[in-house]
């Protein structure tokens, strides 16, 4: 399925903001993303499997807090990272 990434993460994806990944849940999808782009998952999710405080994940434009959220092949996943501070 289509995954849209914020600019701070494109160093992992050869500067592509739109990539493909697979998974039956958000957790599976992030694991697949990390296989394709090693290191990217830990920038989105911490070691306790919590989405980092200034990251938001949307599935079909609805924000999701749980990595257990089931996904369908045609879903679109959007990762947003806050850019803030001076």
């Amino acid at each position: 399925m289509k995954v849209l990434l914020p600019t701070p993460l494109v160093e992992y994806t050869a500067r592509r903001r739109e990539v493909e990944a697979q998974g039956a849940t958000l957790a599976d999808l992030l694991a697949d993303l990390d296989r394709r782009y090693p290191g990217i998952r830990f920038r989105i999710v911490d070691e306790q499997d919590e989405i980092r405080p200034h990251i938001k994940i949307f599935v079909n434009r609805a924000q999701e807090a749980s990595l257990a959220r089931p996904l369908a092949v045609r879903d679109e996943v959007l990762v947003v990272a806050a850019l803030s501070g001076g």
Binding site: P8, L9, P38, G39, F42, R43, I44, D46, E47, Q48, D49, E50, R52, P53, H54, I55, A81, A82, L83, S84, G85
Partner: protein, 374 residues
């Protein structure tokens, strides 16, 4: 080992200053990691090629980058420092940022240590490619008592730092914590003991608490094994035949006081050290006293101090020098360097007698570390 290379970590990236061993002509390269926080970057003195950088990209979580060419190119660690996953019934810990990096002993050329915020200790045995937690500290049943709660943490987060090795015994480790105090382990990190007797913690009710102190910078002398400490309340020395710290900062001029962040030891002379005093009055401005920056040096292990400010601004300089932002270069005479929160790097090539500005206009500097590059 040929050229002298200084890695400068900042709030907005990493820079490198380079000179020949005469230290006459300097060049600057970078930035690497532009826009990302670099809390610490260290070139390994054991090989002059491996370098590690503690990096955090905004809100994206912490990591470590590693270089095999002295800091010219970088690759991310495959497994950065991270706490163990907690049981589902417990609240687990998450590394906010990697704060401190220390190369291991000469006998283990691929070993490195890392300290994090919140206070965690990590080790790598493959030159920073992968990291694992030191369970003897991170899972110690007393750890939470030692480090306290949110009210004990500095504004930028509580940290484990100043990871130091006993030159006579690489299994003997020291750490400093802000907050938590100084601790030591004689078994490569398996067990830990507080090492704070004699140190003030004037923000705690107990006049001589066992732990809970605010260590700013702790250094072990590479020849004598004696330990020096700049902490929130003063400057201290612990002769390793003793078990109680002596407040050597009492010999500083009363008007200057003995609050500060960094502390640098002479690598060959166990009695020579340098500090950068800060205003620790009232609301703790943490700036040079009266806006007049000065390094203070001692040649008698802290028995007396001398002001070393020739070449530094005479007035209206209000920066801070952070705990990783002052170092020596190991050459003879020893070169000393410090970086400021105003983005300046200053150098002395005669052990603090005269100071020269190497560069201006960098971002807020967090760390300055020198080593000879291969």
């Amino acid at each position: 080992m040929g050229r002298l290379r200084i890695l400068v970590g900042s709030r907005k990236g990493l820079f490198a200053l380079e000179a020949d061993r005469g230290r006459r002509k300097w060049s600057m390269s970078g930035p690497h990691f532009l826009g990302q926080v670099v809390n610490h970057a260290v070139l390994d003195p054991r090989d002059g090629r491996t370098a590690l950088a503690a990096v955090r990209a905004g809100h994206l979580g912490p990591t470590v980058y590693r270089s095999e060419d002295g800091g010219r190119s970088w690759k991310e660690s495959a497994k950065p420092p991270a706490f163990d996953k907690a049981a589902s019934s417990e609240k687990g810990m998450s590394v906010s940022h990697v704060f401190w990096l220390t190369p291991g002993p000469a006998s283990e050329p691929r070993r490195w240590y890392a300290g994090t915020s919140p206070q965690g200790l990590f080790v790598s045995d493959d030159a920073g490619r992968t990291w694992r937690g030191v369970a003897g500290f991170n899972a110690h049943p007393q750890r939470l008592a030692w480090i306290g709660g949110l009210q004990d943490a500095p504004p930028d987060g509580a940290t484990l730092h100043s990871i130091q090795l006993d030159p006579a015994n690489p299994r003997h480790l020291y750490i400093g914590m802000s907050a938590g105090g100084a601790f030591e382990s004689f078994d490569d990190g398996a067990t830990w003991s507080p090492l704070n007797r004699g140190c003030a913690a004037d923000f705690l009710p107990d006049p001589d608490p066992e732990y809970g102190h605010d260590v700013h910078c702790l250094r072990v002398h590479p020849v004598s094994g004696d330990v020096y400490q700049q902490n929130h309340c003063g400057i201290y020395r612990l002769d390793r035949a003793a078990s109680r710290w002596e407040r050597i900062g009492r010999a500083m001029p009363r008007r200057i006081g003995d609050v500060g962040f960094p502390l640098v030891l002479h690598p060959r002379d166990p009695k020579s050290l340098w500090v950068f005093p800060m205003d620790g009055g009232t609301v703790w401005p943490r700036v040079p006293i009266d806006g007049k920056p000065a390094v203070y040096g001692s040649r008698d292990a802290g028995g007396s101090w001398r002001r070393l400010d020739q070449g530094l601004p005479r007035a209206q300089a209000w920066y801070t020098v952070k705990r990783q932002a002052m170092c020596g270069d190991g050459l003879d005479p020893l070169g000393l360097y410090f970086g400021t929160t105003g983005g300046e790097v200053w150098a002395s090539f005669d052990e603090g007698e005269r100071w020269h500005c190497l560069c201006l206009h960098l971002p807020h500097i967090y760390s300055v570390e020198a080593a000879l590059a291969d």
